[in-house]
Amino acid sequence: SWNVEAAANSFFSGGTGSGGSSASKSSLNKLFDKYREDPTNSPDKVNADGSMKYLNDINADPECLEYIAVAEIIQAPTVAEMTREGFVDGWSALGCDTISKQKAHVESLKRSLPTSLEAFTKIYKFTFGFAKPEGSKQVLLDFAIAYWELLFESPLSAVKWTLPNSPWSQWWAEFLRTSVKQSISKDVWTETLKFAQMTLNDESMSFWSEEASWPSVIDEFVDWVKKEKRPAEEVVDEEMEY
């Protein structure tokens, strides 16, 4: 039989069917209002102070990976900022319309993140937009390095980019600081995750080939690792060059 009422409700509350009810949205709106610093001039935005307070309330450390996870949920445009739309839509989709529910969700995230590659990939991709200045297509190198460190070295990370003999993430940062690159493109950002995952499965980087489509900065990194970090293995090659 047709449940017309339910379908209509679902339609009017956002049309996705899985979206929260209008009731939960209104409570989320009220919750958002609490953190606003300047309700008159920017009624739909929360800045640094409110964000910090909010993170504290839901027990999310702004210096840890769970913060990025939360930022992804509420589609925060950039660090220490929240928008009403993102906040309400994000949490209502998860059915978390109270602080305690959100806190519980953060707790469950902390438990599940280290093993969920899918969730991590989503967060990783979100981070590029989150880290870049508005209107720019690139992330400044210093920011990129900082976020990579957070993403690849956090205890919560599903892709901990380091091996006993190959501290990849540290090498990556070290290499980037010596390179002439000033900023990171979205393509490099995306490909780096792919590259990181492959190096974890194949420490010798035998998967790498100059013929493949890796961005040149990754090609240069491979070269750099071979020369700087594993010189012994490179002796033969060098001899051939001379």
């Binding site: 297509k137 690139q138 493109s185 979205k186 393509d187 995306t190 490909e191 100059e210 013929e211 493949a212 489509s213 890796w214 961005p215 040149s216 090609d219």
Partner: protein, 818 residues
């Protein structure tokens, strides 16, 4: 008689033993060659009757028994009589015994055996005639071989397979094989042997079979002799190859091998059997060629030596031998390629050495700063031209080898072409494009003087030949434009027609796109001529002729077409945009032309490039005492650069005893510093064109230097050309080359991006590998981009959102974003 016959035919009382006795004695007569007394008809009737009386089987067995007896006693004994100790020496000892004696003994044995075989055949065919009815009735009914055939088998069994003697277990057949092999070996060593005799014995072996089945492939010749022949030949040629490689040179080795192949073919025809021809050829080819070709090619006197010493006939042999064992002629190809690349590298290195050798010391210290440099650049140009000639000479050499020795074989042609490409485009020799362009430049300026059309065409063709090898056509185009630019603007080209001929040759070779800009340069020149004459008419039409009027010849160059930066002095960026202050007389005519031009082509902007012009000026030097005591007034026509003219005109207004400092000249003319220095060096330092006097007199020009007009100047000729240091097409310095290459790389970047976008626009989605391959393909006619460069351009296009990666694709792929 009639009744007796009837009785004989129908009675059972035939006495078989009696009849056989008659037949046997007749057979003995036949075998002892006394058959003439016998009556064939009578004998036939006896045999006929025996068979008729169903005694065919008995008769058949008796005949065979008789033959066995005969063979193993009479014939065997006669063969025994042929055996001499000489013949029986073991194979190992063959080498030590006297060849001649062995040959004679061998021939005697062969003759005896052939005789026995021949006799056996003759006798048996006579017997077969007598026994015809037995063959037809008994043998056919009982499926027995004919008596002739059965008797032939007996020869194999009782003679050939029989041991040589009680003490020597070897079969006669083995001995026969050995004797034939021994004879052949003698022939291989240069003796003359009785080929016909051996052929007869081989014939015997060919008509006998290994067993009763008599299968075609079981001929005794094939199962016995031929096998041994091939084995011993293999061993012989293996050793011979070893010996030849050690004691002979490669050419002799080739000739010898060829001779051996021919000999073996002849031997099969004349001495053995032609069925052996392909087999023995293969053995020789295997042992003398296939197993040795690498060593042979690599011998000191091998392919390299043959190439270096133009041993065309030996190379042809080498080619022939290698083709016999390998369709691809890998060893020869490899050796030829190696030599081309080596010789090419020598040519390249010689060019580098010649161009970097220290310049000869200037003969006089006061020749001016420019002199040694000029010489150096000449030396470099000479190196460039020599390089082109050397490469062409190398090409002629290998063309000759291809034609004469390799029969224009396709794989070798390809290999030669590839190797020329390899060294011409060698990473360690980045000068090919420049050198070829310089070669053309030199010929356009001087080389083609006094040459016939045919000769000129040959010169141009040479350049085209080399150009075909050049991978980076874009770099060549850059150099060609640069050199052509100077030729045209400085009027250095001897013949416009030849220039255009060259362009049309390049058009055919490299396509329209390549020559588009070059043709545009010629078009500019033509238009400029029209403008010059048009302007002259225009000025004349303005009214009164001004005796002091300046004639203007002008070249209007489209800025994107001409590589004008190559015309500036090079070391100062400032020079390009600063405007020189012309004296009023010049300024007037300049404005006049600008007005004239803008009326013809409104909206176009003219930028004056004073650094590129020249001027003819008439100079009068006053009556002052000369060194030789005369005081005549002297007139000279000076050909100077535009800048030099501007400088000299300053002194027109200046009393003779007054001077201008460098700084004053610079302030008044606004000529860029380095151009000013060079022009003042030409006017005040160079010995023969010292129209100004510099104080203090020194080579270097300093800001505080003072300049006076040289009233006492005296030139040897009416017309004096004041050269400016360093102007002419010459080989680039390393720094210049790096700049040219960088410029080239930049423009390659655009080409690559354009190609990638073109491809993706059409294909929408494409894997990384395919995209790279297609890009390389599209650009192949222009240059060969590095894969890394393509990758960077793709990356940049992703960043600018022309492309995106297809997420989750099996192989790395891109999508075009419209």
């Amino acid at each position: 008689m009639k009744s007796a016959r009837a009785k004989g035919l129908h009675g059972d009382d035939i006495d078989f033993e009696n009849t056989w006795g008659t037949l046997a004695s007749a057979f003995r007569e036949i075998h002892t060659k006394n058959a003439s007394r016998l009556s064939y008809e009578e004998l036939y009737r006896h045999a006929y009757r025996v068979v008729l009386k169903k005694k065919g089987e008995d008769l058949y067995k008796r005949v065979l028994g008789f033959e066995r007896d005969w063979l193993s006693t009479e014939v065997h004994n006669s063969i025994q009589a042929l055996l001499t100790p000489n013949l029986l020496v073991s194979a190992q000892a063959v080498g030590t015994s006297n060849t001649n004696e062995r040959r004679v003994a061998g021939e005697k044995f062969l003759k005896g055996l052939r005789q026995a075989w021949g006799d056996h055949q003759v006798c048996m065919s006579m017997l077969a005639d007598v026994l015809m009815y037995m063959d037809r009735v008994y043998c056919q009914d009982n499926r027995h071989p004919s008596i002739y055939t059965a008797a032939m088998v007996l020869f194999r069994v009782d003679i050939l397979n029989h041991p040589v003697s009680d003490t020597d277990a070897r079969a006669v057949l083995d001995l026969l094989n050995r004797v034939i092999l021994d004879q052949i070996q003698m022939e291989r060593d240069g003796d003359v042997i009785d080929k016909y005799l051996i052929k007869m014995c081989v014939g015997m072996l060919e008509s006998l079979h290994e067993d009763e089945a008599e299968a075609e492939d079981q001929r005794l010749y094939n199962t016995s002799f031929e096998l041994e022949y091939l084995t011993t030949s293999k061993e012989f040629y293996r050793k011979e190859a070893e010996f030849l490689l050690r004691d002979s040179d490669a050419g002799a080795y080739c000739r010898h091998t060829r001779k051996r192949l021919d000999q073996e073919e002849d031997r099969c025809k004349s001495t053995l059997s032609e069925v052996t021809t392909p087999k023995i050829q293969k053995v020789v080819e295997h042992e003398l060629i296939k197993n040795r070709i690498h060593e042979l090619v690599e011998m000191e006197s091998g392919v390299r030596f043959m190439i270096d010493n133009d041993r065309l006939d030996e190379l042809e042999l080498m080619f022939d031998l290698n083709s016999r064992v390998d369709d691809k002629k890998m060893e020869l190809v490899r050796a030829v390629q190696k030599r081309i690349v080596e010789m090419g590298a020598d040519v390249n290195n010689a060019a580098v050495a010649a161009s970097t050798a220290p310049a000869p010391a200037p003969d006089a210290p006061d020749k001016g700063k420019g002199q040694p440099q000029e010489k150096n650049s000449n030396q470099q140009t000479i190196a460039a031209i020599k390089w082109v000639e050397d490469v062409l000479q190398l090409k002629d050499k290998f063309d000759g080898i291809l034609r004469t020795s390799f029969g224009m074989d396709q794989p070798l042609q390809t290999a030669v072409t590839r190797s020329f490409g390899d060294f011409i485009n060698s990473v360690s020799f980045p000068r090919s494009s420049e050198y070829i362009s310089l070669f053309i430049d030199e010929n356009m300026k001087k080389g083609i003087k006094n040459k016939t059309e045919l000769e000129i065409d040959a010169v141009l063709e040479k350049a085209i030949v080399l150009l075909r090898y050049v991978q980076d056509k874009d770099l060549f185009e850059r150099y060609y434009k640069k050199h052509l630019c100077r030729r045209l603007l400085m009027n250095k080209s001897i013949s416009n027609d030849v220039e255009k001929q060259m362009i049309s040759k390049m058009k055919i070779e490299l396509g329209n796109n390549f020559t588009l800009k070059l043709e545009a340069m010629f078009k500019d020149m033509t238009i400029s001529e029209e403008l010059t004459s048009g302007f002259k008419k225009h000025v004349e039409g303005l009214g009164d002729k001004d005796p002091k009027r300046i004639d203007l010849a002008i070249n209007v160059l489209t800025s994107m077409t001409w590589p004008l930066e190559t015309m500036s002095s090079g070391d100062d960026e400032e020079g390009k945009r600063t405007k020189c202050h012309f004296p009023p007389a010049l300024e007037r005519i300049k404005r006049g032309f600008e007005k004239y031009y803008s009326e013809k082509h409104s909206g176009r902007q003219i930028t004056w490039l004073a650094n590129m012009g020249s001027a003819d000026i008439k100079a009068v030097f006053p009556k002052v005492p000369q060194k030789d005591g005369t005081t005549k007034e002297r007139r000279h026509e000076l050909n100077v650069s535009t800048y030099a003219m501007v400088i000299l005109l300053l002194f027109n207004e200046l009393p003779a005893d007054q001077h201008l400092t460098f700084e004053e000249i610079q302030a008044q003319t606004n000529i860029p510093h380095s151009d000013l220095v060079r022009n003042l060096q030409s006017l005040a330092v160079a010995a023969k064109t010292r129209i100004l006097i510099k104080e203090p007199m020194s080579k270097d020009v300093k800001p505080t230097d003072k300049f006076f007009f040289n009233e006492g100047f005296k030139g040897a000729f009416l017309r004096i050309k004041v050269g400016v240091v360093a102007n002419g097409n010459k080989v680039e310095s390393d720094r210049e080359r790096r700049e040219t290459e960088k410029k080239n790389d930049d423009s390659r970047g655009f080409c690559i991006e354009a190609a990638v976008v073109r491809i993706m626009k059409q294909r929408k989605e494409l894997s990384h590998q395919q995209l790279v391959a297609e890009t390389l393909n599209q650009l192949a006619a222009q240059f060969k981009p590095e894969v890394n460069m393509i990758k960077k351009r793709i990356e940049s296009l992703i960043e600018r959102e022309y492309l995106e990666r297809i997420e989750g694709a099996k192989v790395d792929s891109y999508r075009y974003l419209a």
